[in-house]
């Protein structure tokens, strides 16, 4: 009796092993064929809009004279961490000038003083969320516009935080943080901001 039961159990196991493999393959296969065709979309993605903002912010910020004097350098927008823009930022930057300078992008996997010196704007990717405090601390008062969509970024000492508001991309500003880095944000930019914080955690 026991032997036949064990035999039946083994049989069931073998059958299950097959079905597991087949099930996985069956689930995965159609998906792979679908991937390209669903790509076409009417609306832009949130990162398309964020890329456009990053490009546009440069027109509404005044950098200290020391930065402006380096007129031979391109206006560089840096991305720290994983690039979420899927080429959208490069596409915009490749065709434009900001503040009279040719624009460029640069990807950074870590903060090192030589490379960040070149950044006018730095976008801190959500992949860096865990190290945000350290990143802001090591940026210190560097004359770089800090932008991110990490939740609470402007409260934690960042300058411009993207916020999704009913499927529209808006932003909040921490004015004190910008001020302590010597950046002047135009009233036009502040008017459009969802909120403007006057106090700073890392500032002043």
């Amino acid at each position: 009796m026991r032997i036949s039961l064990a035999g039946a159990r083994r049989f069931r196991m073998r059958r299950a092993k097959w079905s597991l493999g087949r099930l996985c393959a069956a689930c995965l296969l159609p998906l792979l064929f679908f991937t390209p065709s669903i790509r076409a979309q009417e609306k832009p993605s949130e990162y398309d809009v964020k890329a456009a903002y990053l490009f546009t912010f440069g027109k509404f910020v005044t950098w200290p004279p020391a930065v402006k004097e380096r007129a031979t350098e391109p206006f560089t927008i840096c991305i720290l961490g994983q690039d979420p823009f899927k080429g959208a930022l490069d596409a915009i930057v490749s065709q434009g000038r900001i503040a009279g300078l040719p624009a460029a992008t640069q990807r950074l996997s870590k903060l090192d003083p030589d490379t960040i010196a070149r950044c006018r704007v730095i976008f801190i990717s959500s992949s860096e969320e865990k190290q945000l405090e350290q990143i802001l601390a090591s940026l210190g008062r560097a004359q770089i516009l800090t932008v991110s969509d990490i939740a609470g970024f402007s409260r934690r000492g960042g300058m411009i935080e993207f916020v999704l508001d009913q499927d529209k991309v808006r932003f909040t500003v921490n004015l004190a943080a910008a001020r302590s880095a010597g950046l002047v944000l135009s009233s036009e930019l502040l008017k459009v901001a969802l909120t403007v914080r006057e106090d700073g955690r890392h500032g002043e």
Binding site: L20, L28, L29, T35, I92
Partner: protein, 689 residues
Amino acid sequence: MSAGNQAVGKRISGVLASLRQWILPLAALTLIFAPPSVAQATGKVHAQSLAGLSLEQLGNVEVTTASKEPEELWQTPAAVYVLTQQDIRRSGATSIPEALRLVPGVEVARIDSGHWAVGIRGFGSTFSKSVLVLIDGRSVYTPLFAGVYWDVQNVLLDDVERIEVIRGPGGTIWGANAVNGVINIITKSATQTHGALVSAGGGSVDQGTGAARYGGTLGRNLNYRFYGLGFTRGPEFHSDQRNFDDWRAGQAGFRTDWTSRGSNDFTAEGDMYRGEVGGGTSVGIYQPPSQMVLEANAEVAGGNVMGNWRHRFGDNSDFRFQGYYDRTSRLTPQLGEKRDTFDLDFLYHLGLGARQDLLLGAGARWSPDAITQTIPTLDIAPHQETDKIYSWFGQDKIALVADKLWLTLGSKFEHNNYTGFEAQPDARLLFTPVPHQAFWIAATRAVRTPSRLDRDLLLTDFLGAPPPTYLRVVGSSDFDSEHLVGTEIGYRGVIGRNFFLDITGFRNSYDDLYGYGTASVFLEPSPAPAHLVFQLPLANALEGDTEGVEVAPNWKVSNWWELRGSYSFLHLVVSDQRGFTDALNTASDNGSSPHHEAGLQSLFDLPRKIELDLTYRYVSALPAQAVRAYQTGDVRLGWKPAPRLELSIVGRNLLQPEHEEFGGDPGPLVGIKRSVYAQITWTEPEQQP
């Protein structure tokens, strides 16, 4: 790719030969059918046309949002599911186990009002073993029976940032007892909880709940919060009217987060609680009537304090140092247990060039307990014992192909006072051909080390008369660790812009599982009257295999409608190991985990700040628990009449007056009732955007 890396890669793919048969062709197909240029082309067109817009115009462009899956998810070669604060809120759950019902591959069965059986990939029971539960890194898994007392894990749900559920063996990082999975509850940093929150609720089972929290900053960098919560919950449905399972508890705690200007972060947090949890237990006694039912409250109390220091060296390395003290006390009519746990953990992370990421860790835990015997037929002897665990851990993540293919190799080495050294190695391969498409495979060995019960239990129950005959289960000093070798394969990806899919397949092979050894029979003269005893020693009597598939699709149909599904298939076969015959435990293991679980959740964001959330779930039968298959559903209606005020009403288990989910002890199964619950929450944001 260097020759050395190739050799390592070959070795791993040899181990995983059976999985490779189908994953590699599939991965190759993705490369062909989803070239990165397709995704980028549409992005470019949009981006260029957006570049000419003004700030105001940009703010009015409607966008499609990509998946809300956290970025780390794409870098994790494991079956991870993340419940966010939003998910928890919209589930209408009032406790952690209820919130876990949303997670595929997790079996949550409510036994009665205050008790749950929570298993991952099988083996859920009252004493669910082998699932590690952490709250901010503090283990709440009790070494007494190697499970979790869910009735005392009452965090303020509004303060939970997320719950990460890792299905499958996680022993390499998390250590012994993370055999079937890890549930990692992470609370918000005090920087995220400035201001005040007050909430109150009431309903038919959750009769009254209340919570309050206040947080702010002191000086520039010190953030703090304090909270208190309390609740009283009524009994579930008892066909025999023995409504023993009402319960109530209160808890208070704090958290502070301090960031120094340099590269140090400090967190300190602590909680204290007290409660009484109704329960019913049938126990044997040596005098007539030989058996009786104890229905009384378990008196539970406890507290913990914890400190965590994170320090960053340069750009690419950091360390964390964490220590905590946790005290728990539980006095039930049948047993008392007091436990103090001291734990220290150290984790060092070092980036080695662009290609390697090294994690090294060490830990020590010291957990003395004190058992109080209250009835003659249940004891854990000796009454005092100290569990001691020392562990070392190393893991290297190697980028075999930059940004595309990673190999993770690691192992934990742990020394415990029961079985000495245990090694828990693990190898994982992650392939991300294009962003937001990830394939992974893993092979892991994990162990569950013996608990106090496995070694020191003495439990006697009445079998029949005449002559008076008792069944006695005794722990055994040679009870060894349970072992698992698991293989997993998974895919997660964003399809189009609004569909996310996660699929995992696994196969686990268990050895030395808990069961009963060879019985002996003897006459015991004392305590009088003399009686016959059938004695069953606990032993590593069983072995088993589980196989399964978990599918979790998430479809953002439109701006105001999201659909989430989950389906889990589990095939579980436990049988006697050579030399053992244990029909009781094989039947119980084989018949206590659902083969099929399915769920569908629909989240509507309606006009006027109204949220309507519908949840349906199906769980197949548990023959060994005499629980039939059931399907039921929840509805939640939320409304924000003012920015600081939220009202919600939740109907739970609406499809029938009551349904059973798991067997308890004693008497007929407890029915989980249809219930309603309403809550009002007021928040006062302090200087917050």
